[in-house]
């Protein structure tokens, strides 16, 4: 039986973590490669690097980070943020990332999903979706709308329709981020996650809102997510990866416990 995946998200800017991660001895670590190594050793199932670098110099620094990560950890990891073309995807994959995630660009130019899937395989292409709750209206029947540019622009895409469109075009996985829940630490958007997970036949990673172990439990059971993305809940040592997995295991959620 397949385990539910616990995935750590690391935000990177100009080759450094945007917020230092607190490990043993309250030492802040700013190097994304070192943070990845520590989470790898603690049993994380996968890592997402989110590159918020704007400049093209920064892009090259990120590729160097990807190369070093690929030499250091031997689990799947993906890179997202600022992927605008198949060439951007190729650079990230050839540097050693298992998957690449497209978000805003996929809304503006959906063919990037088809092309990426055709060239690299669906398993390499993650569709990142940022979603906000809105009033139900004819073009947004689910009441969940796709937003881009950090939630500043509403796209007119219903979240469920966009998820199906992305799957149809060849995305191998969906990373579903609730802008409303993101940063609140009050729990994932379980209703949205369940709706999207039921609408598609590809795995769905729930993102945004993790603050306590019960939030992971809720989204992996009621929310029917295949994986849960976590960030500050482990970055600030509120919980360790082992504690989160033990909590889930004790409640009957299958997670990877030997590594």
């Amino acid at each position: 039986m397949l385990s539910k995946r616990i995935i750590a998200c690391l935000d990177v800017r100009d080759g450094k973590l945007t917020k230092g991660i607190r490990f043993q001895g309250n030492m802040d670590i700013g190097d994304p490669v070192e943070a990845a190594r520590i989470y790898y050793e603690q049993g994380i199932d996968e890592i997402v690097f989110y590159d918020i670098t704007a400049s093209s110099d920064g892009r090259n620094i990120m590729l160097e980070v990807v190369r070093r990560v690929a030499e250091t950890i031997f689990i799947p990891f993906s890179v997202g943020g600022g992927i605008r073309s198949v060439e951007d995807m190729r650079a990230v994959i050839l540097s050693g990332a298992e998957k690449v995630s497209v978000n805003s660009e996929a809304v503006k130019n959906p063919d990037i999903i088809d092309e990426g899937a055709r060239i690299f395989g669906s398993q390499c292409v993650v569709l990142g979706m940022d979603v906000k709750k809105v009033a139900v209206r004819p073009e947004i029947p689910s009441g969940y709308e796709i937003v881009i540019h950090g939630g500043r622009i509403y796209t007119g895409w219903d979240a469920l329709q966009w998820a199906k469109e992305g799957e149809h075009r060849g995305a191998g996985e969906i990373c579903l981020n609730s802008i409303d829940a993101d940063g609140t630490q009050k729990g994932y958007e379980n209703d949205l996650t369940r709706l999207v997970s039921a609408a598609v036949g590809i795995p769905v990673i729930a993102s945004g809102g993790a603050g306590r172990p019960e939030h992971l439990y809720a989204v992996l059971t009621r929310g029917e997510a295949d994986a849960a993305l976590i960030a500050s809940i482990v970055h600030y040592r509120t919980y360790s990866i082992g504690e989160l997995k033990e909590y889930l295991h004790e409640r009957g959620v299958k997670v990877r416990r030997e590594w």
Binding site: M1, L2, D45, A70, F74, G201, D226
Partner: protein
């Protein structure tokens, strides 16, 4: 020297990086002369069976791999590299290398586990239940391994099956035949237990016994 066969099937560098980490020397090539100088061979791969077989035939790797198996050189198949060693794949209805008799089948639609409909591809971490010992899989914890696939191996002779995995049905996820071992999962992406398998393979003489 370990030869990683380059047949343009996805990104092969992750296997090379894992070997690098283990301190092994390796080469990624499709040149039969260079491969013939290697002590052991890895056939990796991500992608579709049809294109993979087209490339392998074009490179003469179909004949070369048959000779490699006959010569007793230790050979490891990974993921798509495991699927193409069988007689036939349902993916693109492809005749394959036929190094091991059997088929590669698609996970049927409507697979369920209890109440839940299962998603295809089978993507993520899952257990392998080993049914008999083998040097390449010695000393492993009761670990899980990383899978990404929509098709699974179905050997004609169950004696070739070393390990099985449960995903709506029980399928063969590790097998052995003489100097060949093959896994459906990705040892290079399965953490320390996966690296242990690669390290074991790098020391294996090619005999299928403990």
């Amino acid at each position: 020297m370990i030869g990683i066969i380059d047949y343009k099937a996805g990104n092969l560098t992750s296997v090379a990086r894992a070997l690098q980490y283990l301190g092994e020397s390796w080469t990624v090539t499709a040149d039969p002369r260079e491969l013939s100088g290697c002590d052991r061979i890895i056939l990796p791969g991500v992608g579709a069976a049809g294109e993979a077989m087209t490339n392998l035939r074009r490179l003469g790797m179909d004949t070369w791999l048959r000779e490699c198996l006959a010569a007793g050189t230790p050979l490891l198949g990974i993921c798509l590299g495991t699927q193409v060693i069988f007689s036939h794949s349902e993916e693109n209805d492809t005749p394959c290398l036929d190094l091991v008799p059997g088929w590669v089948r698609r996970f049927p639609d409507g697979l369920r586990e209890g109440e839940r409909a299962l998603k295809i591809p089978h993507m993520g971490w899952n257990r392998v239940e080993f049914s008999r010992p083998h040097p390449v899989f010695a000393g492993l914890p009761a670990a899980e391994y990383y899978f990404v696939h929509s098709f699974y191996p179905d050997p004609a002779d169950t004696a070739h099956i070393l390990g099985r995995t449960e995903y709506g049905l029980r399928f063969c996820s590790a097998l052995a035949h003489r100097n060949l071992v093959a896994v459906q999962f990705h040892p290079e992406k399965s953490g320390a237990p996966g690296l242990r398998i690669l390290a074991n393979f790098c020391r294996w003489g090619g005999a299928d016994a403990q």
